[in-house]
Every structure is written in structure tokens, then in C-alpha cells.
């Protein structure tokens, strides 16, 4: 290994300037990666604390502000948990609208990640601007798909970031079928875009190593999971969403503001598109599976670099699903279900673009929030990110310094950690012992 010389070239002063924001610390000992610390620094915002004492009706809109990339995931998880407490269910029509908008969010978030942030890694570029010169069609398609996904959210919820149309029990007003129709106006073209994006991603040079991983996600019964499902993993376990906390452990790390989650047995697990894809492959639209299989891909995808494939596959799937759901949509008689307020406690898990999002609330008989616990997907993935770098250690250390750094960054980016982190928070520091 030519490591020693190369790695001493890493400019530590330059990295020191970013330490406050966090980074990746890789310790190398005897030519092996010995210790990894993923420290993605996001200032804490203390949502669980200020939710206390507020009305249960506020939970969806307030928790949406945890993430501007996937606000709807929060809206859906909070709404569903509250509905469970009150013993009501959103109507079939409301659920269809929720799914259309939520799939819109998957598209918006996935495309942002795989085209704007992740693809540059595989093509050796800094940004989408650089890709645009060589692959104009890909970039055009990516922008068009994102706009279309955003449009779906906007039509139903009023605006793409922090939409206002959703509430506990359903929606604030009835959405007319004709309001949805603009989404289908050039639907054939949108489908083609989804397919082309997937095909582009399938042609990328993606590392082909394979290693054991634990995946965990919701599992759908008849449909690919997004709004609900049972929790499943590839160790053969299956349990209801209510038991999430019994099956996981959480720890606070000195170096990170995010809590770290693991399985009860101490093993890290991966949540997100890769996990969903591997555990629910048969539920993806046949059109999507056709393209994948034409290119020789079959589950399980065996390394996290391939998560970009899962994201592109889910994007195409989401487009097709939105089309189907709009066709099937029938206007309801009322926008939302009402319920008597009562005390209680409940949990709900939905599939955010980045993976399982868990909410648990306890409310008083006046509907005041007494307790809230929110587990975002990125917190569940930290432990896996650290282990992932250990596992691909050989691959990393075979590279000269600059490439090693890029590979570590890509490895973290595989998880699509919350956006603000995904570019600037990732810095590599290799310490030789």
C-alpha cells in the first residue's frame, strides 16, 4: 500500500476549518482502517421539547419543519400516529391524495440526490453544472422530473415545501379530480423521463463489491410501502410499527448531535431505498422490474453504492404510481374525518425518501401533546455508515489520497444523509497511528 506517503498529504489545516461542522474521521492502523467516526453536525433544534403542551392538531405542520426536503414524511407520520390515538382512519380518497403527494416528494428528493448530488461522484464531476455539458438530456430529464414531483405536492398541498393542505384525519379541503388532471396532461412523456433516468443510472460505473448488511424497512402487503406496513428485515424478523423501540437501541455520541440507533443485538442496520428495494422488490411496478432485469439487476443489491439504482427505480415507480392513483381517485364527500379528542398514545412509521421515519406521541384528554419521540432515518443510518467505511476499508486504502477521500465521501453520500450534510459536512480526516 502506498498509503503512508499519500495520506500525509492531506492538508489538516484546511480540514481544521471545517471541524466545527463535523466530518468523517478515519483512523488507519497497520494498513487497515481501525476506527471510523461519522460526525454530521446539525445544530440541535429540540422539536420534542417544544411540541410539549401544544395541540395534537399542530404536530404535522410543526414537525414538517424538521426537514425541508421531506416535510411530507413528517406530516404523514404525525397525522397517522394521531389518527391511531383518536381511533380514526383517513378515507380511501384522502389516502390516495396523501400517496400522490408523498410519491411526489420521493421523486423530488430522490432526483435531487441521485442526479444532483450522487451522480457527479460516479462521473468524476463536482456538480450537476459540470454534468450538464456532457449529458444535457440527463440533466434536462432530472429537472423535469423534479418539477413534476413538486407540482404533484403543490396541487394537493398548496406548495412543495411545507405544504398546508394536510391535517390529522385527511385534508383541509376536498381536492377535485380536475385539479389533478394537469399532472396527466403529458404523462407519456413523464413516464419516458422516468425510464430514461433509470437507464442512465444503470449504466453508471458503480463499484461491484458485496458484503453482508442488515436492511430494515416497512414491508408492503399489496403495494410498495410508503404510508404504512409492517417492519421487516433480512434476518427474517417482522414486527408491527408499535414495537420499533423494543427492537432497537439508541445511544448518544459525544461527537454528534444526532442520536445513533442499532438493532437490539447491537448490529447496525440500513434503512432507506436500498432496504425497501431489497425487501419489497416484487411490489415494484412490472415496468420498473423489466428495465432492471434487462440490465441484469436482481435483488438483493449488495452494496450501498448501488443505492443510486434503488433511488432511480423508486423514482420511475413513483411516477407510475401517481398515474395509477389519479386514475383511481374519486372525490370524497368530506375532506377529513373528525373525532372526539381523547387521551392516548400511539406510534407510526412511514417511509420517508431516506427511510423509516418513526413518530410516537402521547396526548392528554384535552388533546395536548404530553410526550413526543421522533426518529428520523438518518439517525438510524449513522451506525451503518461507520461500519460501511470499515467494510470497504480495503477498497478505500488501495487508492491514492484524493481518491480515498472521494470514496469515503461517496460512501457517506450513499445514505443520502440529510441534504445540508451531504456535501459540505463531509470532510475526511485520516489519522495514521
Amino acid at each position: 500500500m502506498s498509503g503512508k506517503e499519500d495520506y500525509s498529504e492531506i492538508k489538516v489545516e484546511q480540514l481544521a476549518r471545517v471541524e466545527g461542522e463535523g466530518g468523517v474521521w478515519v483512523k488507519v492502523k497497520d494498513g487497515k482502517i481501525d476506527y471510523v467516526e461519522v460526525n454530521i453536525f446539525e445544530p440541535p433544534r429540540f422539536f420534542e421539547a417544544f411540541l410539549k403542551g401544544r395541540s395534537y392538531l399542530e404536530a404535522p405542520d410543526l414537525t414538517a419543519r424538521i426537514c425541508g426536503i421531506c416535510p411530507l414524511a413528517y406530516v404523514m407520520a404525525a397525522s397517522r400516529a394521531m389518527e391511531k390515538i383518536l381511533g380514526i382512519k383517513a378515507s380511501d380518497a384522502a389516502n390516495k391524495l396523501r400517496k400522490i403527494a408523498f410519491y411526489g416528494e420521493w421523486i423530488e428528493s430522490h432526483v435531487l440526490h441521485f442526479a444532483f448530488l450522487h451522480a457527479p461522484d460516479f462521473l468524476g464531476k463536482h456538480s450537476i453544472f459540470e454534468i450538464a455539458k456532457e449529458y444535457p438530456q440527463f440533466v434536462k430529464d432530472a429537472i423535469a422530473a423534479r418539477n413534476w414531483g413538486n407540482r404533484a405536492i403543490e396541487i394537493i398541498g398548496g406548495r412543495p415545501v411545507h405544504p398546508v393542505g394536510f391535517r390529522v384525519g385527511g385534508l383541509h379541503r376536498i381536492i377535485r379530480k380536475r385539479e389533478l388532471e394537469p399532472l396527466l396532461r403529458n404523462f407519456d412523456e413523464v413516464k419516458k423521463i422516468g425510464k430514461r433516468l433509470l437507464e442512465f443510472v444503470l449504466k453508471l460505473p458503480i463499484p461491484e463489491i458485496s458484503y453482508d448488511m442488515v436492511f430494515m424497512s416497512l414491508k408492503g402487503e399489496k403495494e410498495y410501502p410508503i404510508l404504512e406496513g409492517v417492519v421487516a428485515n433480512n434476518l427474517g424478523e417482522e414486527f408491527p410499527e408499535d414495537e420499533f423501540e423494543e427492537h432497537t437501541i439508541v445511544e448518544q455520541k459525544r461527537y454528534s448531535n444526532a442520536l445513533h440507533y442499532r438493532l437490539k443485538n447491537g448490529k447496525p442496520y440500513i434503512t432507506g431505498p436500498l432496504a425497501r428495494f431489497n425487501l419489497n422488490y416484487e411490489l415494484l411496478s412490472p415496468e420498473v422490474r423489466d428495465v432492471l432485469e434487462e440490465f441484469g439487476f436482481k435483488p438483493p443489491l449488495r452494496n450501498t453504492y448501488q443505492s443510486i439504482i434503488a433511488r432511480a427505480a423508486e423514482t420511475y415507480h413513483a411516477i407510475l404510481e401517481i398515474g395509477r392513483l389519479i386514475e383511481e381517485y374519486r372525490e370524497p364527500n368530506r375532506a377529513y374525518e373528525e373525532a372526539e379528542v381523547k387521551a392516548g398514545e400511539a406510534m407510526a412509521i412511514v417511509e420517508a425518501p431516506r427511510g423509516m421515519l418513526y413518530h410516537r406521541y402521547r396526548i392528554s384528554d384535552e388533546g395536548k401533546i404530553l410526550y413526543a419521540n421522533i426518529v428520523p432515518p438518518t439517525a438510524q443510518n449513522y451506525a451503518a455508515m461507520e461500519e460501511d467505511i470499515l467494510k470497504v476499508g480495503d477498497l478505500i486504502l488501495k487508492q491514492p489520497k484524493e481518491k480515498a477521500q472521494k470514496l469515503v465521501e461517496t460512501t457517506i453520500r450513499n445514505y443520502d444523509p440529510c441534504i445540508s450534510c451531504s456535501v459540505h459536512m463531509i470532510r475526511l480526516k485520516i489519522i495514521e497511528e
Binding site: 417544544f50 410543526l62 412543495p160
Partner: protein
């Protein structure tokens, strides 16, 4: 201007926030670049890992100041930028996370973390303008894309901008909405909130919860009396008004006296 080929050097920074306002900027990207063709994106880590150092002509800041590190960072941004714009209600008012400012910080930390002593954060989440001079402030959670675009255009043309800051009620009436207070007896923050969102919530038959921030010279006292007339207790009234833009100057002053 100081960028390549006389282009305007633009930088985008993130402080304590949800990234939602940056999303709005990303979605503007195309329009911004093609429409104006006069901007060099020198620093925008969400979009490019190619980060160039200052000085910048225009710095857009998303997020509130809530850590010691961010306090230093904003001062640094000010020193390195000709024009500073606070984008969104986090940067402009302290944001939703300023709801913790109304609570005892030690307890807040304990609620979320087992080892609160490891958490590095300021006691309060505050607007950028508490620390440095801000040239333009855009409210909204998230900031409205069109307002953002018009602000940038005006900066590029070098003219002072003017956003109407009448109450949301004006916008709501122009849209022809039925008032939710009248129709449903539902409390709405519209009378003290500035226009700009398109009166979104009332269009969905729900009350405004104030995400855009206060209008010029709002009358929260009068609004509180109306809420009480609708049957809300003082506590409920305070809770309604203490929302996403609670740490904006007029709302904060009102709440401090109302809750005493």
C-alpha cells in the same frame, strides 16, 4: 461586480434550519442562471462541492443563529459580503426553533438528550439581524420563490426593493376567499401577518398560523381580543400567537406582556 467576467458573486449559507429555503433557491437555480446570466455561484455547498472563498457580492443566509459557531460564522459572512440577505423565517425571525426560547433551556436539553452537557448550543435561537447588519430580509417558512427572485433581481439592478407588507387579510380578500373566522369561527393569524404566500391557508379553509412573520405595525392586542371573543382562553390565545415567527420583535413584545 467582483466575480469572473464582472459577474455577481453569490454565496448561500446554511445555519440552523431545515434546508427548505435552500430548496427554494435550488428550484430557482435555472431561472436565476438563465434569466440573469450575470451570477457566479461562488459558494453553495448544497449544489456544488466546488466552494470558493470570499469576498462575495451577495450572501444569502438560511437559518437562525443558535450555536457559538454560527455566531462567529455570521460575523465572518458580514465581513466578506457586500450585501447580506436573510432568507426565510429562521434567518429573519429565529424560526420555529425559537419556540424553545420560551422554555427553560436546561429542561429543553434534557427532554431530547440523555447527556445534555454534550450539546453545544446557545440558550436562544435568534435572527441573523441580532448579530450583524442585514440588508434585505425575506420572511416565510419557506421563503416565497418569487419574492426571492424579485429581491435578487432588484439587487442586481441596484434598486431598492419594496415588498408589500400589508396584512394577509388584504391578500386573502383580493383572492376572494371566505374568511375562516367569519365562516367557521376558526382563529386566524392573518390580521397581523404580512402578505406574500398567496393567502394559502385560508384558501384551504384553515386559519393562518403565521409562517411569513408580522406585517408592518401589527396589532396583536386586538387580535388576541378577537381570539378571546371566539372562546379561546388566554393560554390558548397565547399558544396560537406563539408560533413559527414568535421571536419576531412585535410578536415577542406582545407575548411578554400578554403572558405576564
Amino acid at each position: 461586480m467582483s466575480g469572473e467576467n464582472g459577474k455577481v458573486r453569490l454565496a448561500v449559507f446554511k445555519l440552523t434550519s431545515c434546508s427548505g429555503c435552500q430548496q427554494q433557491i435550488v428550484d430557482l437555480g435555472e431561472q436565476l442562471l438563465t434569466l440573469l446570466d450575470r451570477v457566479e455561484v461562488a459558494y453553495f455547498l448544497e449544489a456544488s462541492s466546488d466552494a470558493k472563498p470570499g469576498p462575495y457580492d451577495v450572501a444569502l443566509i438560511e437559518g437562525s443563529v443558535s450555536t457559538p459557531h454560527e455566531e462567529k460564522l455570521v460575523k465572518n459572512i458580514r465581513e466578506n459580503s457586500k450585501i447580506v440577505v436573510s432568507v426565510g423565517s429562521c434567518a429573519t425571525y429565529g424560526g420555529i426553533q425559537a419556540l424553545r426560547n420560551w422554555m427553560k433551556f436546561e429542561e429543553v436539553k434534557k427532554t431530547v438528550y440523555e447527556k445534555p452537557e454534550w450539546v453545544e448550543a446557545l440558550e436562544k435561537s435568534r435572527p441573523v439581524s441580532d448579530f450583524i447588519k442585514v440588508d434585505y430580509a425575506i420572511g416565510g417558512c419557506p421563503a416565497n420563490k418569487l419574492q426571492l427572485l424579485s429581491t435578487l433581481k432588484q439587487i442586481l439592478i441596484g434598486r431598492r426593493i419594496y415588498h408589500r407588507e400589508e396584512s394577509l387579510c388584504q391578500e386573502c380578500k383580493r383572492k376572494g376567499n371566505v374568511c375562516v373566522v367569519v365562516a367557521k369561527g376558526e382563529p386566524c393569524l392573518g390580521p397581523i401577518i404580512k402578505e406574500g404566500c398567496g393567502a394559502l391557508c385560508p384558501s384551504y379553509r384553515r386559519g393562518c398560523y403565521g409562517c411569513f412573520g408580522p406585517m408592518i405595525d401589527p396589532k396583536p392586542n386586538a387580535l388576541a381580543r378577537r381570539f378571546e371573543d371566539l372562546g379561546l382562553s388566554r393560554e390558548e390565545t397565547a399558544l396560537r400567537i406563539r408560533n413559527i415567527t414568535s421571536w419576531s420583535e412585535p410578536v415577542r413584545r406582545f407575548l411578554e406582556s400578554y403572558e405576564r
